[in-house]
Symmetry: C2
Subunit: 561 residues, 2 copies
Amino acid sequence: MAFTIGLDYGTNSVRTLIVETTTGKEVGTCVYEYETGQAGIILDEKDHNVARQNPTDYVKGIEVTIKGAIADAKGKDSSFDPAKIIGIGIDTTGSTPLPIDKEGTPLAMLDEFKDNPNANVWLWKDHTGHAEAAEITELAAKEHPEYLAKCGGTYSSEWFFSKVLHCLRVDPKVYDAAYTWIEHADYMTALLTGTAGPDKIKRCRCAAGHKAMFNDDWGGYPAKEFLSKLDKKLGRLSDTLGKKTYAIDTAAGNLTTEWAEKLGIPAGIAVAMGAFDAHLGGVGSGIKEGTLVKIIGTSTCDMVVRDKKADLTDVPGICGIVDSSILPGCWGLEAGQSAVGDIFNWFVNYIQPGGKDAGSHEALTKKAAKLKPGQSGLLALDWNNGNRTILVDQRLTGLLLGQTLHTKPEEIYRALIEATAFGALTIINRFEEYGVKIKEVVNCGGISEKNALLMQIYADVTGREMKISRSAQTCALGSAIAAAVVAGKAAGGFDNCADAQKAMCGVKDTTFKPNPQNHKTYQKLYKLYKQLHDAFGINKETKIMANVMKDLLIIKEEANA
Amino acid sequence: MAFTIGLDYGTNSVRTLIVETTTGKEVGTCVYEYETGQAGIILDEKDHNVARQNPTDYVKGIEVTIKGAIADAKGKDSSFDPAKIIGIGIDTTGSTPLPIDKEGTPLAMLDEFKDNPNANVWLWKDHTGHAEAAEITELAAKEHPEYLAKCGGTYSSEWFFSKVLHCLRVDPKVYDAAYTWIEHADYMTALLTGTAGPDKIKRCRCAAGHKAMFNDDWGGYPAKEFLSKLDKKLGRLSDTLGKKTYAIDTAAGNLTTEWAEKLGIPAGIAVAMGAFDAHLGGVGSGIKEGTLVKIIGTSTCDMVVRDKKADLTDVPGICGIVDSSILPGCWGLEAGQSAVGDIFNWFVNYIQPGGKDAGSHEALTKKAAKLKPGQSGLLALDWNNGNRTILVDQRLTGLLLGQTLHTKPEEIYRALIEATAFGALTIINRFEEYGVKIKEVVNCGGISEKNALLMQIYADVTGREMKISRSAQTCALGSAIAAAVVAGKAAGGFDNCADAQKAMCGVKDTTFKPNPQNHKTYQKLYKLYKQLHDAFGINKETKIMANVMKDLLIIKEEANA
């Protein structure tokens, strides 16, 4: 009997999950809420684009949660023994880079920079680099369109080089003091394995491929000459990035004695290369060729893998297609909806302040469940936060149509759920139109576990069975799976991801099967959704309504100027 | 010094207003709430189309309110003396017909029929005749398209012949017992002047022209042969309708001694021909060539008159164009929006159950007033209850566009106000496109008095000054004006409507002038409103989105079947 640790760094907290490798049984867990800032995030009242974190919270979280999870496991399972832990896997948010010195110490931990937010970690949702993102997009479009082809045509302000370039521009002192910048996941693995120094750092494929334009086709990261054109100093960063990146079945190294002693687990055990939380959530949900894993929360992440031996043309509108970013040896395809739970939260928090009885998620869901498909006469678009996949356009907005003088809140609530289901179907259809067959859909994330109405509507709209991942902690489980693979079969782990997933993943007994009658009605409604989607969203030469939302945003910006 | 009485029959109550003729000063008033049914309306739990009234309430209301208004005037104004009352004018809802016997007695007042709702008054919003309306439309389209040309192409279930034909079909006993059917307004004038018998009844132009296809061009009411094709018995009704109808400057007759004694006012004074409340509201707001009068309540009635000597082509999408229906000697043009206040009520009552602080009209208006035009990024269509004018399509529904995850209720509330303003502008533009110049806009009705934000938005959207009628009771004032005209100058009244209006009408000192900057922004927004309006509303051969709302309604009907 062997155990692995999955260390799952979220936006507000870090969790350790200890998993038994042969069964996937989750024997212990512990969560540590970051202490700095608001819910772990350092904000700036004057600039809503700022979102930073304190790396000290990450480091403290290792010890607190691993020790806590060990205590939890000991209490629950007498067969558990920390000496039987054979590996550690790590997932984090991203792109969440931080500046480090040559020794691998975050600048934020140095006295000189301890009060400088620019020396902190730049959290994924920090948007201060929006001008730099536009600059990178413009230059890449001109000189290296291939860089953009794999990431939907636009380099985002959330991504690695936008953040680094912005720091260079606004705080050259921090930039100059940094030996390099490193993704949160890579910092954690380097720290635990003592590989933070020059020529030792291993960077993970997932972050590099999805957020830093890394691709073996052009020799790795963007060319030094390209980065230098953005800024000479950015070109110099190029020398520290290395030429290789690594998938989750590669060990970052072995746990240092120092950390082993601190944590009370064996020294020298393998630490797997990190990856983004969603991607390891895909792994923990049993992702494989033909399986779509949907992580449904405030937004969604929709993941598919495709064997590298299979044909794969670019799928238009799918933001990220990266070799081995999810499973080694497979293309990782990442799609997603910019808002799902966030739309329902908006409706409940902003539009329905009627309190528990009138306007809670529970009350609205209960009433909405009594409605039949089509019965309200309502139809909505799920674009309140733009459209991340297919249209790849943040300058799209919501739409609700069909309301009368009798339209009730629960009808709107249901229409919003249906809109997100239609959005989900549009992504599935796009994959299949480009030869990526979806044979199975596995859902995970809070909403999929909590909202049976939503899952049934998704089944009815898509005409597909909706399965729910067995684990409530698929990201941490995915990390534990990566740990089991790098530990290897001899140590009580596995030879490869597929074997590990077969043993450690599963779906719940309860699944949601489509109701044929409802599906028929939803096919009619989807036709109308698609008509609105294409008319308002697709800006062809023969554009129909595609100007409307954009013109409104221009007027809005003028009004707010 | 002379006074006239305006008797104003609304949907739930009747009001008497006593007005001094030379100044328009309102010296006394009294309201009587109908006693029968719910708020004066007899409903049928099993059939929501049913809306009837008890004529006894109307009769009782004469005495209660005229006596009450006299008492009120005596208390307030020592110069008032009921002996100085020189005439009575009457407005009612419509089409609101009732069956009467040869003596002019409503069948509902006979013992035989007193418990039969079909013998009652069929209130304007009774929709039981919807099948008959379709039947009439179909036959007219085939045999007499000219009948439909003046009423927007569709004969409504709310109108005279739909109701009469439905009664004939479902309750032949009532139909057979009736000598004829008469509009509410005509019943009141016949009652007060003792002219209810055969060959004595005078019918008003307003109701006949707008709701019963009366037009001098084809010799008055629809041909007997046409009505007979619908049903032989309906053809026989034709003989009782007469060939002439009368405008409000014609006396229906003189007040009978019996009623004079009962009311304590002079016998023999002139009683003016009645008209619909909205139309006399137009008169009471000083309507004249070039003035648009908007009565803004749950819906709107937009009225314009056009001198009969001027050129007037049909204005497409304007439902009613009737000779002398508002002012004698002028075409009366009636347009309107199917829902205005009703849309705001829907939002507050259904969507915003947050109570006084969060979701009242007052709270939302206060917050909405702080927003600048365009600032919310929202745009709405005002079609929650269909579109009465321009598109003439009840099968259109609401639309809201531009919402984000931060959209607030007051932003939606303001967008809904703006949508109704854009709808109002669309009507103004349509009039002007067809040569009917609008030089002045006078508003009346509850919302125009109470909601300064709405009036300012209307001014800013239309780029026109919004005036507010001085009287809070423009319908009753219009009736009092008609009374002053039929009383004549010699008696202390006037020779014609124009003179009477000049003396008795006015606008408030406070008007709403357009803010040029806001108007500029609203011009941009209106362009987008018009784009949505035409795309979703106009079903040309090159239709773009015009199927969407209708297909949704079909799916809705299937779901509810």
